[in-house]
């Protein structure tokens, strides 16, 4: 990065001629930038430190083997919450992947610059940062209120709606990176567009698309707000058909952390450590893949 080195290298010779006011403004900017960057890093460090400090001591084999305790009972674990979270996330990703993949494919391969594609792309970008609690309200109206019962399916659907925009966006970005010559080569062999897409462009963009799915998983794994009124939460094993409340890690953490019981709070810390570790590992892996892809 020679462009960064230039001002620094030139500084000593010039330093004496810079007016004090200009020099002060410059130093203030530099000091400010360094300080706020340190704040960012410290905040992350503080959050991770807190989780490790409080979470590791609460983490034992019992956390994974016993179900969440009722109010006032001793010990207990998070087994049902962990399993429930895995199920809900799996449903969310299983629903979101085909929809997101196809929608992203439409934007990159069929719609491109058409008015419809432009508006769908725009709406998708907006949905990327939509408040997740509103998605919870939407799914409640759609899937909980009519049936009169909370369910894992509603929770999974809410998570899917959050995951879809992420998958659409990365799929479209990755597909538009595939060189047009590949598609032309496929078309020249007589393959119809659907074959070119499934056999050529999807394969060429596979790593990037998978990355998008991993990022979406990381995004929904820690989501709490949309599960509050869809999957709900409880302290026992959920039914096999997922009707009725499905216990899950985020809502369990929310309820336990704010509770007055010592063992509940301990479990909240253990759960917080587990979920953050999972989410951060997924995002780091995804980032690593993207970077390798970009280099290649």
């Amino acid at each position: 990065m020679p462009d960064v080195a230039v001002p620094n290298a030139a500084a000593p010779a010039e330093w004496g001629r810079v007016r004090p006011g200009r020099r002060a403004a410059d130093r203030v900017l530099r000091a400010f930038s360094v300080c706020v960057s340190a704040i960012g890093v410290l905040a992350l460090g503080s959050i991770l430190g807190m989780l490790l400090f409080r979470g590791l001591s609460a983490l034992g084999p019992g956390v994974f083997t016993t179900v969440t305790p009722g109010p006032g009972s001793q010990d207990g674990g998070l087994a049902n919450a962990i399993a429930g979270s895995l199920v809900l996330t799996a449903i969310g990703i299983a629903v979101a992947t085909p929809i997101g993949l196809l929608a992203g494919t439409y934007l990159a391969e069929y719609g491109r610059g058409s008015r419809l594609a432009v508006s769908i792309r725009f709406v998708n970008d907006v949905l990327l940062s939509a408040p997740s609690i509103l998605i919870g309200l939407f799914v409640y109206t759609l899937m909980v209120a009519p049936f009169g019962t909370y369910s894992g399916w509603a929770g999974g659907a809410a998570l899917a709606i959050i995951a879809i925009p992420v998958i659409v966006r990365t799929t479209e970005d990755m597909l538009s990176l595939v060189p047009a010559t590949l598609r032309e080569a496929g078309a020249a062999l007589g393959a119809p567009p659907s074959r070119v897409i499934t056999l050529v462009t999807w394969r060429a963009a596979r790593a990037g698309i998978v990355t998008g799915i991993v990022l979406a998983t990381a995004r929904i794994a820690g989501e709490t707000a949309p599960l509050l009124f869809t999957a709900l939460n409880n302290n026992f094993w959920f039914a096999g058909n997922l009707v009725g409340g499905v216990s899950n890690l985020p809502v369990t953490i929310y309820q336990f952390a704010l509770s007055p019981y010592g063992n509940w709070q301990e479990l909240a810390w253990a759960g917080a450590l587990l979920i953050t570790a999972a989410v951060l590992i997924l995002s780091v892996v995804a980032r690593h893949v993207i970077r390798k892809d970009a280099v290649r």
Partner: protein, 326 residues
């Protein structure tokens, strides 16, 4: 020889013909499926608006749209619901988040693009990006158990001693119960949460500016501050506002972290250090136990949140998109 020719003939007759028919069908189905999935994205947006409007309609009808928005009482027992305390809490916490978060985000992006050496850039950029990946409930726990006690001890108590009895600031900054939870703490946590988003968009914008502009400014003897102030900022201009709006959209709708630290008071308090509530935290807190008109009022709150957030996000995307096209 003849065997090959025969099999080629067979293929030409059967395989190729059949394949073309099935290809054609699959092709149309595939196209229709991808169009359908893309339309589903539009449908979600319409669905959210429809669901909240439909659910909130009884409350809007009961109190009137304006009456609901400006109503200051939220009394479940008396079936009296006004949205203003929650709206004011949402706006106040988001404003605090912007005031604290925007300078920090800009500082980080200046540091990462202008000041950091090669080896520092990657780890710091990664750390800031990981802040975006941390689930919001973790921010809530951190805010409640780590940050709120610090606010109570190092901000509220000393500040109380200074401002007590003074006009205006005496009410605005005075905390009756210095517990650390309140609108101010929520705003700071929100600031931390929106920093990664603002910083990463701003950083992309600064990276897109042609290096020759900076180099020529440095060449005529500008300091880093002058390059940032007179070359980079004017150039990135509108898109930085877009990035800030994006952060604002996030801050307005954030739920779990705020619910942990805002104190969840139903009344509107004049001080930013007192407990309050936001639209999202009110919905998260009350929705499961609500019925009848309260349920409808919460949906109506959701509808207001939808309109405000989406207006902000749409504006943000328009501002960012406009610059990208240039």
């Amino acid at each position: 020889m003849s065997a090959i020719a025969t099999s080629e003939k067979v293929m030409a007759h059967h395989e190729a013909g059949r394949a073309r028919i099935s290809h054609g069908g699959f092709d149309r189905a595939f196209r229709a499926a991808s169009l359908g999935c893309a339309l589903l994205v539009l449908l979600v947006l319409v669905g959210i608006l429809g669901a909240t409007l439909w659910g909130g309609w009884p409350a809007f009808r009961e109190f009137g749209i304006l009456g609901f928005i400006t109503g200051t009482r939220w009394n479940v027992g008396a079936e009296q619901f006004g949205a203003w305390p929650a709206i004011a809490g949402t706006l106040a916490s988001a404003a605090i988040a912007l005031v604290a978060g925007v300078p920090i985000s800009l500082g980080i992006s200046v540091f990462l693009t202008q000041l950091a050496r090669g080896w520092m850039r990657r780890p710091i950029a990664t750390a800031v990006e990981l802040l975006a990946a941390v689930p919001s409930i973790i921010y809530g726990m951190w805010g409640l158990f780590v940050f709120a006690p610090l606010v109570a001890a190092f901000v509220q108590v000393p500040l109380n001693a200074v401002v007590e009895g003074l006009p205006l600031v005496g009410t605005l900054l005075y905390s009756r119960v210095p517990s650390g939870t309140g609108i101010f703490t929520a705003g700071i946590i929100l600031a931390l949460m929106i920093i990664p988003f603002i910083a990463s968009v701003t950083r992309d914008m600064l990276d897109q500016i042609p290096p020759v502009l900076r180099e020529s400014a440095f060449g005529i003897g500008c300091t880093t501050w002058e390059v940032v102030r007179h070359v980079l900022l004017p150039h990135a201009g509108v898109s930085i506002i877009g990035a800030v709006m994006l952060g604002l959209g996030r801050a307005l709708g954030e739920t779990m972290a705020v619910t942990f630290v805002i104190g969840n008071a139903n009344r509107l308090s004049p001080s930013i250090f007192d407990p309050g509530s936001t639209i999202a935290s009110r919905i998260a807190n009350e929705f499961n136990e609500a019925a009848g008109l309260q349920l409808s009022a919460l949906s109506a709150l959701g509808c207001i949140l939808f309109l405000v957030t989406f207006a902000v996000l749409i504006l943000a995307r328009l501002l960012i998109a406009r610059v990208k096209r240039i």
